[in-house]
Assembly symmetry: C2
Homo-oligomer: 223 residues x 2
């Protein structure tokens, strides 16, 4: 198929496809003449993946580029593909200040849960930074119990994620699942968390009499 057809199939404007080609998000098609290239189903799939990473996953073009590079590089052992995908989608954070204790708490948590990871796992810095931020804000709600529950939930999700990876047919498919799952899983969980929060909120803090209950409100008039 030619570029116009790739554009029509994926719903992506031709100039945008050219941009993706320039940025390395989309491999060049097979050249059939100096100014003609053939694209195939793999290109369609790649465009859809890129759009998913950008729109749903919220990645930047640079991050998406790193992700698809990891996908294309089949010299990487599967056991480290998670790391590559994770590092690609996690923006580097500045090192914590000296008086912060988030890193120590996370290290402790890892020890207690038998979480063995590389010390440059981006989740370590990310989680530590969030804990430090909480305490800098004076909102001391990340108790041991709360952190423990978050960790349990993370284990649950991680188990589901790896289950999904293991269910893939071949190694290439596995890599794909890892990459897609790493990015989209965050969004999926965030969505479910919003639902569960609201449901739990209504359970704990019932609405005053006369206020429409969730089930009674069937229109979306307010936003």
């Amino acid at each position: 198929m030619r570029m116009s057809e790739l554009s029509a199939t994926t719903g992506t404007p031709v100039p945008t496809l050219k941009f993706y080609l320039r940025e390395g998000l989309l491999p060049a098609g097979e050249r059939t003449s100096p100014n003609q290239s053939q694209y195939d189903e793999t290109h369609v799939a790649r465009v859809r993946l890129v759009r998913a990473l950008l729109d749903v996953g919220g990645l930047t073009v640079a991050q998406a580029s790193a992700v698809v590079s990891a996908l294309d590089d089949d010299s990487v052992p599967l056991s480290t593909t998670f790391g590559i995908a994770q590092r690609a989608v996690t923006q580097p954070a500045p090192p914590a200040t000296s008086e912060a204790n988030g890193a120590a708490r996370i290290a402790e948590l890892c020890a207690s849960r038998d979480w063995a990871v590389y010390p440059n796992n981006p989740g370590l810095t990310m989680a530590a930074r969030v804990i430090d931020t909480y305490s800098a804000l004076g909102v001391d709600v990340i108790t041991e119990a709360a952190l423990e529950r978050y960790a349990q939930a993370a284990d649950l999700v991680a188990a589901a994620d790896l289950e999904a990876v293991a269910s893939a047919h071949d190694e290439a498919q596995m890599t794909n699942v890892v990459v897609v799952g790493t990015v989209l899983g965050d969004a999926l969980f965030a969505g479910l968390r919003r639902i569960a929060q609201e449901a739990e909120s209504f359970r704990r803090f019932p609405l005053p009499e006369g206020t429409p209950a969730p089930g009674d409100l069937t229109d979306h008039k307010d936003c």
Copy 2:
């Protein structure tokens, strides 16, 4: 305190503080003369909150503005504060196409878990969109079992979140916890998930002999 002191205390440049004032992220100080204002601890706290929302939570200025407006508006009942915070931090998604079934699966999940929420809860659209994206990518890994585990994890986290809210002293503090927790909780969980994923990955797909194990790798040379 004056603006320069506010700047020094929070580590935020004066022009940025002026920008926050313009954008409504920071309330004006108490005017003591036509060109002098006094700022106090509430302003320091607000600046820190704004930086946390922007840097750690990844919100845009517009979203952060909506969040702090909700914080300042004490006419909102607590039971709906979650909704406001959630809607403020969740970017609206386009409506799903007709053949997509993500919304139906999420509705089913809500029913099975007794999750009663307003139909405009942003998590509903968000989660449905992710599921639709997975299937559009041909990565059919969100089985019923996987979704169930994600939902369990969401319940676990939501319970911890509401526990934190309930532990706050007064209503103003509760609102604060809700807002901060909604935004930072996503990041905290995402970090823990990355750790748990890598740990679980090593458990399921052990590294080949000779490759450094997580515990052996103590430097951060690669990124």
